[in-house]
């Protein structure tokens, strides 16, 4: 460990610590490279044909033609799929808030045993591994007549998001000073007015956390959508449409990679614009989980 010969210019890191720091530095940047190289490969390959991809996998493309993107979009109906994804994600987010905001408001103000029990049910919800129940969910979709529609997924996703959304929002609602509410109810405000005019404005950061967190999981949801929405191009979301490129384009890798990049664009756009908020949201989600 002490074999490092470089003179310790910075006092703070003693010589004994250097080797470990270098090793973890190599590890960190090596991993970063493993994340970036595929992206570089995807971007350059999107502008190449198969022959160019095979003969010179890491070389720059010779043209910037968007043919592969056009081909990907038309062969898998990616444009319609994006619209469906936006619709599903948007409606599911609205429904999540419509259910979770009043629930958190009620739980934050409840004093009785019922409130504690309900809160406990939501908190334990994290522990229920619902994936195993994929098939019964499919049965429920069939029984409600909503099988092979986006609608059922719009109903289903908020339910899966409920525990986390309620736990996060309840914490925010608890932090609202009680004097504010007392003043409002003195003036004759009903509970729903108190919620809308006192609690909601203060809890906007909590709402934003819930929205960002669920935007990502709703947008990226795959297996339930695959089984319940099925293959109809008029209904399916982008995540269901994307893998079909592998079949419809055979082995045209340029098209495949162009299509994949196309589906990543909305998420990257949001991440780049709201990087800090998004990281905070995901952290909050994990910590509560």
């Amino acid at each position: 460990m002490t074999t490092t010969t470089a003179a310790p210019r910075r006092r703070r890191v003693p010589r004994t610590g250097r080797t470990g720091t270098y090793a973890s530095g190599v590890l960190a940047w090596g991993y970063a490279a493993l994340l970036l190289i595929p992206f570089y490969y995807f971007i350059i390959s999107s502008f190449k044909d198969n022959e160019q991809i095979f003969t010179d996998p890491l070389g720059l493309p010779t043209s910037l033609s968007l043919d592969n993107f056009a081909e990907a979009i038309s062969s898998a109906d990616l444009d319609r799929a994006v619209i469906n994804s936006i619709l599903v994600t948007g409606c599911a987010l609205v429904l999540t808030l419509l259910l979770a905001v009043p629930a958190s408001f009620a739980l934050a103000r409840a004093t009785g045993r019922a409130g504690r029990v309900i809160e406990r049910v939501f908190a334990l919800g994290f522990l229920i591994p619902t994936f195993a129940a994929l098939f019964p969910t499919f049965l429920l979709a069939a029984a409600t007549g909503l099988f092979h529609t986006r609608t059922f997924i719009i109903f289903l996703l908020p339910a899966t998001a409920m525990p986390l959304a309620v736990v996060i929002l309840t914490q925010f609602m608890r932090a609202v000073p009680r004097e504010l509410e007392e003043a409002a109810s003195m003036d004759g405000a009903s509970p729903s007015m108190v919620l809308r005019h006192v609690y909601l404005p203060i809890c906007i950061p909590g709402v934003a956390t819930v929205v960002l967190l669920n935007f990502l999981s709703f947008w990226n949801e795959y297996l339930y959508s695959l089984i319940i929405i099925g293959p109809d191009p008029a209904q399916r979301t982008i995540q269901v449409a994307l893998p079909t490129l592998k079949l419809t384009t055979g082995t045209d890798y340029g098209v495949l990679m162009a299509g994949t990049l196309f589906t990543l664009l909305p998420v990257y756009l949001v991440y780049t614009l709201l990087q800090r908020q998004m990281q905070r949201a995901l952290l909050a989600g994990a910590v509560k989980g």
Binding site: A28, F54, F105, T111, V121, L127, F131, A132, T137, V267
Partner: protein, 306 residues
Amino acid sequence: MATVLQPRATRPAAPASLSRTPVKERFPGMALPGLVWYALFTIGPVIAMFVVALLRWPGMLITPTFAGAGNFSTVFNDPVFWDAVRNSAVQLGVGLPVMIVLAFLLAYYVVQRPRGHRTLRYLLFIPALISAPAAALVFYSLLNPDGLLNGVLGMVGLPDERAWLADPATALPSLIALDLWAGIGYSAVLLAARLDSVDEAVVQAAHLDGAGSLRVAWGIYWPIARDFVGVVAMLQFLSILFNSAQNVLLLTRGGPGTETTTLSYLIYQKAFLEADLGYSQAVGVVLFVLGLLGMLTIRRSLRATH
């Protein structure tokens, strides 16, 4: 369930004109729609899973009959099930410890704020943004016989003919690599957020006393991160155990043979490809129990001593 009994007590207070609206309410009525919704779409199917597991139901159009524990004895006598148990065990036993250790080292590095740590933090988050289909297509284009990996191997003169995803020797390791690729960065970001709370003065004092970075990592950072490592391990445990179905479906469909058939993929395969619904849900019950047991074990073993 006490929720059902409570409303009667509070109902008389409901007319708002009687008195000023109470500041706090005894019964959280506005929580009911959310609760019912949650129960209908998530708890309901879980209960149904336990019921279907007891039925002989060889196809959607056939009327199910009661089978008792029959499905479970079929499952436990099926070598394919034990292959799936082994594959899931390997996937977790190799993937999870490697992921957590590497993620901890990475988080430890990032919180020292070395040059470029902001860029690193930005990059580490990338896997958390990518959907399963997109990540699977990334691996598909790297690992297929004409893919980047063979291309690079060919450029440096190594054998470049291997079909990584179809070769029994490399199919399951490829899936584990995908778990690691996608999981390390996200776990590291989570751990780094926790390690950020370590008091820098304490670390500097330790350095002045001559403690090396390994000593500091082990003596100061690890105890603080310990319970949180448990949380991250639990998240990743569940994600690998349950979500492997989608990666397997997208990349290998369980093959070659049963080399990559994991427990969660077996549930999918039996329900949606082979229409053996009782069998599928019996495996679902097994997976459910394994998930709970695993979570409790991880929580217990890594819980901080308060």
